[in-house]
Structures are given as C-alpha cells and as structure tokens.
C-alpha cells in the first residue's frame, strides 16, 4: 500500500488546483468591479486553505507566499485596505505566482524565488502602508500553548513523518507513552480554581486534573471549604478549587499547557518546590509511570484512562485505510462527486469503441444474411444501436469538462503578454461552462496560448496607433466557447487592425509559398498564415517569436479532429474560429467508395448529396470542372484523383457529389462513386504511426473488419484555394 501521506499530498495538489481556480474566479470578479464581502472571502479562503495544506507538508515557499498574499487580502476583507484596480492586478499576478509555486512544489522543482520575493515585497508594501500594525501572525506550527505562556522555540514544523520525534515543544509535555524529558524531577504545586465560565466553555475540571497524572505522580485535594451548593455555582462565582501536588520531570510550562484552554477562565497558580535544572541531562526515569490520581473528588482509575496514545500514524499505514469510510461518508452528504482515475475512463471509452465496432459487424451480418428489416432480430439491433449511442454519449460526458480552466490559463497569458509588449489588454471570455473532452482541453492549451500571444503581439495595434484611430486605449481579446451543431466552437478574436494582407501576400511571394500569378481572394491570403514557416513579424519578438508558427497551431488542432478558420476585417479585427468534434473517439460518418476504396467522410461536413452525370459538370480549364447547383457554380474535386487513386477525372455511372462546407465558407463538391452507408465509426488515430497525412483525419475499422480512412474534407478542399497541395506525407513526427 502506498504511503497515506503521499496520497494526501497528491490529493492536496488536486485540491490546490480547484482552490486556485476558485481564487482566479473571485479575482476576476473583483477585476470586473465586484468588491462584495463574499467575493473577497472566497479568494481569501482559497489562499488560506492552500497555505494551511502547504504548512502541513512543510512547503515553506508556498506557505510564505500565500501567507503574505492572505494577509493583504485579509486587510481588504476587514476593509482596512481599499480595493483598487492596481491591487486587483497585483492579486492576479500573485495568483499566477501561486500557481507556479504550487506546480513547483508538486513537481519538486526549484521555483523562481526572486519573482516570488518581489511579489511578497509588493504585497508587504500594501500591508505595511495601509494596515495598522497587526501583530505578526505566529506561524509556528504545533504549539498548543498560549503565546504569552509559551517560550518554546518551535521549529516551523511540518507533518513530516521523519521529523516527528524532533518536535521541540514536546519537550515541555511528554506524550502519554514516551520517556520523560531530560529535566530533573521536581514537585509542583498547582492550585486550580475555575470560574463559572469554564464550565460553559466545554472544559471539564476532572479531565484537566486527570491530565496532570500524565506528568507524574499526582495527589489532588479538593478545597471543600466553600459552599458546595452546585446550583448556586453560577451565581456565586468560583467556589470549588483544587490543589494538586505533581511530582514530575517536566518544567512548569507543561502545566500551563494542560490548562491552556482555561486561561482567563480560572485561577491557576503553579509553584515549584525544587527548580528544574534544564541543562542537566539525565537518563530515562523509571518513576515516570503515571499513577492513578489520588483525590477525594476525582475518581480516576487506570481503567478509565483514554485509549493508549497513538503510534505515529505514518508508522501504521495499514490501519489508515480506516479513514476511507469516514471520508466517504462526508462525501455522501456533501458534494455529489466521485473521483475516478482517468485511466479507468479511458478503458471504458476504448470498450465503448469496441462495442461500436462490434455492433457495426453485427448489422453487417444481418444485411449479409438477408434478414428482413421487420424481423425481431433487426428490431432488436435497432434498440441495441440506440443503447450503444446512449452509452457512448454518457461515457463521453464523463470525460467532458468545462473550458473554464483553460480560459483561466489564458487570462494569465494575456496579462503576461500584454505586460511584455506594453499594451493594455482586456480578456473577455464567454461560454466558460461549455464542456469539452478533457484531452481536448489539455491539448488546446498550447495552440490557444500561441493564438492569444499572437493576438496581443500582432493583432492589437500599439496603444498610440489605437488612440490615433479613435479606438479605446485598451485592446480587447475575446475568447468564446459554444456548442454548435454537434461541434465545439472556440473563437479567439481581437479588436485590432486586422490582417495586413498586402504584407502577408508579399511575404508569401518572397518565400516562394505562392506563385506570382496566383489569384488569391482575401480569405485565401488569410489562409497563408497557416503555411509552414510563415511569420509576419518584422522582428522576432520575445513574445510570439518562439519558432512556432500558425502552421503548428493548425497541426495541433487538426490532430484533435478540429479545424481552424480565420476571418479578418481591416481596421476592425481578426477572428480565429476553432471547431472541434464533441468526442474524440467516435464520429458519425458517411461511408463512400472511390475507385474501389472505402472511405469515411465526417457527416457534419457534408451539406448535401447530389447524384449527377457527366453533363452536370462544366469545364473551366483543361483539368478543372465546376458543378452547377441551383444556379451557382461550385468547384469540383474528384476524390479519386485528389487522393491519387486514379489519374484523370472520371465520372462513373451513378456518381455522387458531396457538397462540403469547409470552415472558410466556400462550398466544394467532392465526387465519389457511391454512398455505402451512414454510421458511427470509431476513430483510430494514424498520427502516431504515420505522422500527419494531408487530407486524412484518421482511420476506422468497418463492420466487415476492413480498415477505412476517415477524410478531412476541409483539408482536401484547400487544394482548390490556390495553395500548393500535394497529397504527400509530411515528415513523420
């Protein structure tokens, strides 16, 4: 069994992520002008909990930082410090730093202590300048004693199993079952006279006196001289008192520790008959065995002793499984969630994939066996298919997560990027609760980061240019997510100057990416940005010039089965639209044949299917045809030729045109020989084995066990856009 402390620590870091998310949420609300108590409280609590947990694991950097962070936030909470925009911006930067510190602690990496210290100093300046001098918060863990009574020199302690025996304050009060400390025996006289309030606080004189027996031999006498009318206790004030004579090796501070909770609720006098000799080390004293308390009014017997002191919990890992039911119980009545290892879900997803394939095979054999569609078997299969689809959707929903965490990361990118290029930028996000596959969220982080950096660096004009154009000083980047017709759409837009098409065109020319005579529409030019090696930056800036172009962004998104489109209006801004399939595992496809090859075309890319003859096609060049669809001409692509299955365009009898609407809008007709079926197919990635293949999104296994390629129609349609298109293999990754 793994170490329970390790498990708790792992769970702490997961909790940290959640807390950090809550923190950023609250800070964002504050940035938007919500300064109500609860918002500040949520932010404060998040940092406070991170600090609490970090302290338990001895993560000093994290503790130190979150402590200062929390202190300033606490000042805001108690309205000692007013919340200004600058302060919220500082909080946001601190939130980013906190995230770094958490990650470094988790991965055991060194963190940027200088940056962290700078922020601590900035925070301290706020705390020092505007709050009155708060007493230094004593972050000395493991002390029970009141500050004024406790003069021990506690080390900042963690719940570190290796260091448990080294806890200095324990020297003051030996645990129930350990050897006494190295201090000579002394006789202490303790007079204890509770105030009535003591009884109301839940403290119990009996237990307190009994605790004295843990220190050594005890003799307790009750002072019964006062009236013993119990009913009158509350009104008569203190009447009952006890005197205990304790023979112990421990210093008098141990007594104070026992009575710590009663400070102010009783009169307590401790006097020593023989002063302890602290420096004198003596061996373990056999006399330390606690005896029952001998007292008139304290019926203490060994049998009533509390359960034996616990062994250090980390030394008994096997027993700790007992915590699970308790924790589970709490979960039942609390939030209705359960944590599941991602691996288990993956297995479920894979099994559902197998189920879909099996079902396809089954329906294939029903066709092969010529079983009539109205038979019981066929009806049963229909139901089976419906259930499979429901299961598949439910399984995918398990993996779905709101894009919020992703968007939150982007707000950090905007902050950092805008600071780097000295622009004022505001990030507006919409549709944060749109759910998307967890894998997609992780894999979108890189491309989105790059797009956001680009938008800040290239998209938005410098401040002086903006002002000259009469635009608001602060640039705006919009990040929006939504579900649209079975796909997830993520838009990244800016209100900058739009794409400088002239510049893009000339760069593409100079780099030989396009030919001189290519007739390119505006949208064609915009597409050039996605070509490998393209960069419009005059100089490579530290920000977006990291050797990653938009082509990499496109590749990353394509690998998720997604597409990215670009839309730009000069002077108004640029918008990138990422469209992703809802699931990464299964898609609805149209099974078609082309030159005797079976292919799958994603159903959601097909607008319409038309049966056609050679007559419907009109030549517009030696090699190019268009199709007249309701008096509009649509360029034609013969899939067979485009994919290299045949040389010449040929329209076989019964050929069918699939009208495809790629992301950039213009319709394309793709010719196929016939349509076989329409069904769900399980996506089997090809990238790992073959790298990215132009025009091919993935592969699948059909009901008859054959493998078919799943096409990427948008990619294929690009061959018409005037860009160079060769159905070749990109270099394998």
């Amino acid at each position: 069994m793994s170490d329970p402390m390790q498990e708790i620590m792992a769970s702490f870091f997961i909790e940290c992520e959640e807390l950090h998310e809550a923190l950023l949420d609250a800070l964002q609300s504050m940035a938007d002008g919500e300064h109500d108590d609860e918002t500040i409280n949520v932010a404060f609590r998040a940092v406070h909990s991170i600090k609490g947990g970090a302290g338990a694991f001895g993560l000093d950097d994290l503790v130190g930082f979150s402590h200062q962070f929390e202190t300033v936030m606490d000042a805001c909470r108690s309205a000692e410090l007013s919340i200004t925009d600058d302060l919220v911006q500082l909080f946001l930067r601190c939130g980013d730093m906190l995230s770094d510190l958490i990650r470094c602690s988790r991965d055991n990496e060194p963190c940027d202590t200088e940056a962290s210290q700078n922020l601590i100093d900035e925070l301290a300046a706020y705390a020092g300048a505007e709050t009155h001098d708060e007493p230094e918060i004593d972050f000395q863990p493991m002390t029970l004693a009141l500050d004024e009574l406790d003069n021990s020199d506690d080390a900042p302690g963690a719940f570190d199993p290796d260091n448990l025996p080294d806890l200095p304050p324990l020297g003051d009060l030996p645990p129930l079952d350990t050897e006494p400390s190295a201090v000579g025996p002394a006789v202490l006289t303790v007079r204890f006279a509770p105030e009535p309030e003591l009884y109301e606080s839940g403290n119990e004189p009996l237990y307190l006196l009994r605790s004295l027996a843990d220190l050594g031999d005890v003799e307790v006498t009750a002072n019964l001289s006062a009236p013993t009318d119990i009913g009158a206790l509350a009104t008569l004030g203190k009447r009952l008192s006890w005197t205990a004579r304790v023979e112990t090796d421990t210093p008098p501070s141990a007594i104070d520790e026992i009575f710590e909770f009663t400070t102010g609720l009783c009169e307590l006098e401790v006097s020593a008959e023989k002063p302890p000799t602290p420096a004198e080390a003596v061996g373990p004293a056999e006399t330390a065995t606690p005896d029952p308390v001998q007292a008139a009014v304290v019926p203490s017997t060994p049998g009533q002793e509390p359960p034996a002191a616990a062994p250090s919990p980390t030394k008994a890992p096997a027993e700790t499984s007992g915590k699970a039911p308790a924790a589970a119980k709490a979960n039942n009545s609390g939030s209705q969630t359960v944590r599941v290892d991602l691996e288990r879900i993956e297995r479920l997803v894979n099994l559902v994939g197998e189920l879909v394939i099996n079902q396809a095979m089954l329906s294939q054999s029903i066709v092969d066996e010529k079983i009539p569609p109205n038979s019981i078997v066929s009806a049963g299969l229909d139901e089976f298919m419906q259930l499979t689809r429901n299961i598949q959707e439910s399984v995918m929903m398990i993996r779905a997560q709101p894009v919020k965490s992703l968007f939150q990361r982007m707000s950090r990118i905007v902050r950092e990027a805008s600071a780097a290029v000295d622009k004022s930028v505001k990030l507006v996000s919409e549709g944060e609760n749109t759910e998307i596959d967890k894998t997609a969220i992780e894999r979108l982080a890189d491309p989105l980061t790059h797009m956001i950096r680009n938008a800040v660096d290239h998209g938005l004009e410098p401040t002086d240019v903006r002002l000259a154009k009469g635009k608001p000083r602060q640039g705006e980047i919009r990040l929006a997510a939504a579900h649209r017709s079975g796909r997830v759409i993520i838009e990244v837009s800016d209100d900058g100057g739009g794409i400088n098409r002239e510049k893009v065109h000339s760069i593409a020319l100079s780099k030989g990416l396009i030919s001189e005579d290519a007739m390119l529409s505006d949208s064609d030019i915009d597409q050039l940005l996605f070509l490998p090696g393209f960069s419009t930056a005059d100089k490579v800036s530290s920000l977006s010039g990291r050797g990653v172009g938009m082509d990499v962004v496109k590749t990353q998104i394509t690998s998720l089965g997604g597409r990215v489109a670009i839309e730009s209006t000069p002077g108004v801004g640029t918008k990138f639209t990422i469209s992703l399939p809802l699931t990464l595992a299964v898609l609805d496809g149209m099974v078609v044949t082309v030159a005797s090859e079976t292919l799958v075309v994603p159903l959601n890319s097909i607008v319409e299917t038309l049966s056609l003859t050679e007559k419907d096609l009109r030549p517009v060049g030696p090699d190019q045809r268009v199709l007249c669809v309701r008096e509009k001409f649509v360029p034609v692509l013969d899939l067979g030729r485009e994919l290299g299955y045949r040389d010449a365009l040929s329209v076989s009898k019964g050929a069918i045109a699939l009208l495809i609407a790629p992301e950039d809008g213009a319709l394309v007709a793709m010719l196929v020989d016939s349509i076989e079926d329409q069904r769900q197919v399980v996506i089997k990635g090809l990238q790992e084995s073959y790298g990215r293949v132009r025009g091919v999104a993935a592969a699948t296994i059909l009901g008859d066990g054959k493998i078919a390629l799943i096409l990427d129609p948008s990619d294929i349609a690009q061959s018409l856009s005037g860009l160079k298109f060769e159905p070749h293999l990109d270099e394998a990754s």
Partner: protein, 121 residues
C-alpha cells in the same frame, strides 16, 4: 470505548490529515465540509468532541460554534478550533464564541490527540 470526533473543515487535505492522524489512534472520525454540513451531521450523530475550522463557506466556524452551543444535545460538547493563526485575538474570539480550546495548524498528530483526550476525558 473509542472517542468519536466530528471534524469540520472545508479543506479536503485538512480533513484527510485529521482522519489520518486520528483513525489509527482509535478515534471514530466523522467529517464535514463546512459549518452547515457539520450541523447536518450532528443531527445524526453525537460526537464526544468537535474540531472545527474557522474560515469556511456557507457557515463559518464562529457561526457553527454558536449553533452547536444553542443545541440542547451539544451545548456542553467540547469544541476545538483549528486555526492557522495563534493570535490572541483569534483565541479570544473563539473563546467568546464558546470554543473549548484551539489547535494551531499545521498540527502534530500526537498534539492533536492529546488535546482531544484532554477535553473529552
């Protein structure tokens, strides 16, 4: 007879740590996520001692202690406040709210155990 403890803390890490410290030592541990949840748990069980955090959503530690002290079945139940701050002010507030004692986070398991035994007998 084992001592039963209700620990109320909004941090899962802290709840886990408390359970890990106390369960092997023979305590029966019930956990709750905030004051409100803690009160719900008290409808079902009567713990020998209660541990509570202060900063919590919905119902914070002070509100929770008030409510616990207002109930006839728990008005004398010992309550230990778990706090990261050992400032005298916080202790005074905890005391005024009706707490029995306090534990400074992060706690050493044996210290927590001793404090629990001290207040619950």
């Amino acid at each position: 007879m084992s001592i039963s403890v209700l620990a109320v803390d909004d941090s899962r890490t802290m709840r886990d740590m408390i359970a890990l410290a106390l369960t092997p030592a023979g305590f029966e541990v019930e956990l709750a996520e905030d004051g409100q949840h803690g009160l719900e748990v008290l409808d079902d069980i009567a713990p020998d001692v209660i541990i509570t955090d202060i900063n919590m959503p919905r119902l914070d530690g002070f509100g929770f202690i008030d409510a616990v002290r207002a109930r006839s079945d728990t008005k004398s139940t010992p309550i230990l406040v778990l706090t990261t701050e050992s400032s005298a002010d916080l202790k005074t507030r905890a005391r005024e709210a009706g707490a029995t004692g306090w534990i400074v986070k992060p706690f050493a398991p044996d210290k927590l155990i001793r404090a629990l035994k001290m207040v619950s007998g």
